[in-house]
């Protein structure tokens, strides 16, 4: 008898422990947001909480690939996530996303530019699941004082002169994008031969690379640790502010044009709060606040119109005229087999 009693006490403690943690929340509930690192002005969250009485639980990821397994496993529930294009497509195909109720998203409908909705159709064909938050390109950030002449090609990342002065992206698709584009292939290639060529290029490049990093490119470039880095366009304005010697360029071989959009996963416990959050972020003044904090290009036309600094509003880095460039593409989800192939090849590069 006693044994059973003890057992039941133990399991009761276990369950209560497992249940706690979800106890505290705001007066109007909570919203759990899963976003990229440094991708929101914390002040915007404070304003949202103040206005709505909804407590924001904020979590960050570093790459799309890190975000996905967490959401798929379902042991951590999120209300709002901000993945990139191809990852949204993957989540859609695996039935992880909930359809948005656009009646609750008036600001999104009114303020996001038509061209961005159009662009979103590549991964969300009916614009039913996602609201664009930021967009940009991937390019090369270089230090004018450490590089000879101007740079306009990915091939500079293979230049022996800059051995130990190159920073590469530590995420599978971004790294392969560079390798594929260098060789003139599509960055959505699933052709084994093309991928093999790209892999060999990346292996050849490895001795020249100082480090594979994601967000650290920013600090290292500001601190003159490296001469050349592969970086998202959104970081360019910020880094230039901190270190005027830095220059951003979109290579002539073409690059990735990406959109990160807000989505709501199917298992979201607070879907309506999630929509409130997304709509709040689409308000012009809030979008402007975020833009000024993170300096990533905003698809929010109303917010862009509010930018006071002419140089920034018309900056070719933040708002490039994409028609000038060739071979621009957006990542697509390539299916499970291709995912595995990419992962295996990436592992081969990393273990070299």
């Amino acid at each position: 008898m006693k044994k059973i009693f003890l057992l039941s006490v133990c399991s009761a403690i276990l369950l209560s422990l497992a249940a706690c943690g979800n106890s505290s929340s705001g007066e109007n509930g909570e919203v759990i947001v899963y976003n990229w690192g440094e991708y929101l002005d914390p002040e915007a969250i404070a304003l949202f909480e103040e206005e709505t009485g909804i407590k924001v639980i904020y979590d960050e990821f570093e790459t799309n690939e890190i975000m996905y397994p967490k959401v798929e496993a379902g042991a951590t529930e999120y209300d709002v996530i901000c993945p990139s294009d191809y990852m949204i497509q993957k989540m859609l195909e695996n039935d992880l996303l909930a359809e948005l109720n656009f009646d609750n998203l008036p600001n999104a409908k009114a303020n996001i530019g038509a061209s961005y909705w159009e662009q979103s159709k590549e991964f969300d064909p009916e614009n039913k699941y996602s609201v664009p938050y930021c967009w940009g390109t991937v390019g090369i950030l270089y230090n004018k004082t450490m590089v000879d002449g101007t740079i306009d090609s990915w091939s500079v990342l293979w230049d022996e002169k800059y051995k130990d002065n190159i920073l590469m992206q530590d995420s599978v698709r971004d790294a392969f994008m560079v390798g594929l584009k260098l060789n003139g292939f599509s960055m959505n290639s699933v052709d084994a031969g093309e991928l093999e060529t790209a892999k060999n290029s990346l292996i050849e490049q490895k001795p020249l690379v100082q480090a594979y990093v994601v967000d650290q490119v920013r600090d290292k470039m500001i601190g003159n640790e490296a001469a050349i880095g592969v970086i998202y366009s959104g970081e360019a304005i910020y880094t230039q502010r901190e270190n005027p010697d830095l220059e951003y360029v979109i290579p002539k071989e073409g690059t990735n044009v990406w959109i990160d959009s807000w989505v709501i996963p199917k298992n979201a416990p607070n879907k309506e709060n999630g929509e409130k959050f997304i709509d709040f972020m689409c308000r012009p003044e809030i979008a402007l606040m975020n833009f000024e904090y993170i300096t990533y290009s905003t698809p929010n036309d109303a917010a862009r119109a509010l930018i006071e600094d002419d140089d920034i509003r018309n900056s070719t880095i933040a708002f490039p005229d994409l028609s000038q460039y060739q071979n621009l593409e957006t990542f697509q989800y390539l299916g499970e087999d291709a995912d595995r192939l990419y992962n295996d090849l990436w592992k081969e590069i990393k273990s070299e």
Binding site: G21, K220, I222, G223
Partner: protein, 260 residues
């Protein structure tokens, strides 16, 4: 004479090796520039803004809460287990001690992964609860490790004598056994507390949204650029522990002697 100088130099060299990075962190806590890369002048501002930084303060309270609750729970479960294990046959004892050693000797990454798989398959939601359960799990062995040797040294007849003299088992335990194993319990608690405080890997695999300990917070910050407030906080923690150590060391010697 030569030899003692050599010894001193050796100790000093190791000392520099151990403390150089810590000194660096402390210096950075006074750096005006936001990025670690530049020295922008001396400032106290990070210490002030630390108090207003909700995320870091939350992580700090989470860390302390988890460390305290998990090490206390581990002390209770572990000590009780020690009493029972001590009365077991040798064979059973070996088996249980073997199992106890697993989380200690196993790689953190495997422990973390195995607990993650367990929680997912049980349908638990990741959060403070799962972190606590994991920390208690890897803390118990440290408690048992510290308490067990004390328990083995006990003279069982004192406990039996207390019972014969009419004390209830619980009373006898607290009057006779507990004082003797107390040093072991205390060091087990400290050990568990430290391990919980310093753990990153297991928390990394079992944490949920928005519940960060200092370790996981730092891990996310490491990648996007550490906030100088974090250096300030670490400096404060470090100096506090250092001061506590000095105080404990200055305290009457009597306590120390009882431990030996």
């Amino acid at each position: 004479m030569m030899k003692t100088t050599a010894k001193k130099i050796y100790i000093i060299l190791i000392f520099i090796f151990l403390y150089a990075p810590i000194a660096t962190l402390m210096v950075f806590s006074f750096n005006k520039s936001r990025t670690r890369a530049k020295w922008g002048g001396f400032t106290f501002q990070w210490y002030l803004s630390l108090l207003g930084n909700r995320e870091i303060m939350n992580a700090l309270w989470n860390t302390l809460f988890i460390a305290l609750v998990s090490s206390l729970s581990a002390v209770v479960i572990g000590t009780v287990a020690c009493i029972a294990i001590n009365n077991m046959t040798k064979r059973k004892r070996t088996v249980i001690m073997g199992i106890t050693n697993i989380p200690m000797l196993n790689a953190d990454i495997v422990t973390g992964i195995s607990l993650m798989l367990l929680f997912i398959s049980l349908g638990f939601k990741f959060g403070l609860g799962t972190i606590l359960l994991s920390h208690i799990t890897f803390n118990i062995p440290y408690v048992i490790l510290c308490v067990m040797p004390r328990m083995r040294q006990l003279n069982p007849s004192t406990y039996e004598a207390a019972l014969d003299l009419g004390a209830s088992p619980v009373h006898a335990f607290f009057k006779v056994v507990f004082p003797d194993i107390l040093p072991g319990v205390l060091s087990g608690f400290l050990m568990a507390f430290t391990m919980s405080l310093d753990d990153f890997i297991i928390t990394h695999f079992t944490k949920g949204a928005g519940v960060d300990t200092l370790s996981t917070k730092i891990y996310t910050e490491v990648k996007k650029g550490i906030k100088p407030e974090m250096y300030a906080l670490s400096t404060i923690i470090f100096v506090t522990v250092l001061l506590l150590l000095f105080l404990v060391n200055k305290a009457p010697k009597e306590k120390n002697e009882r431990r030996i």
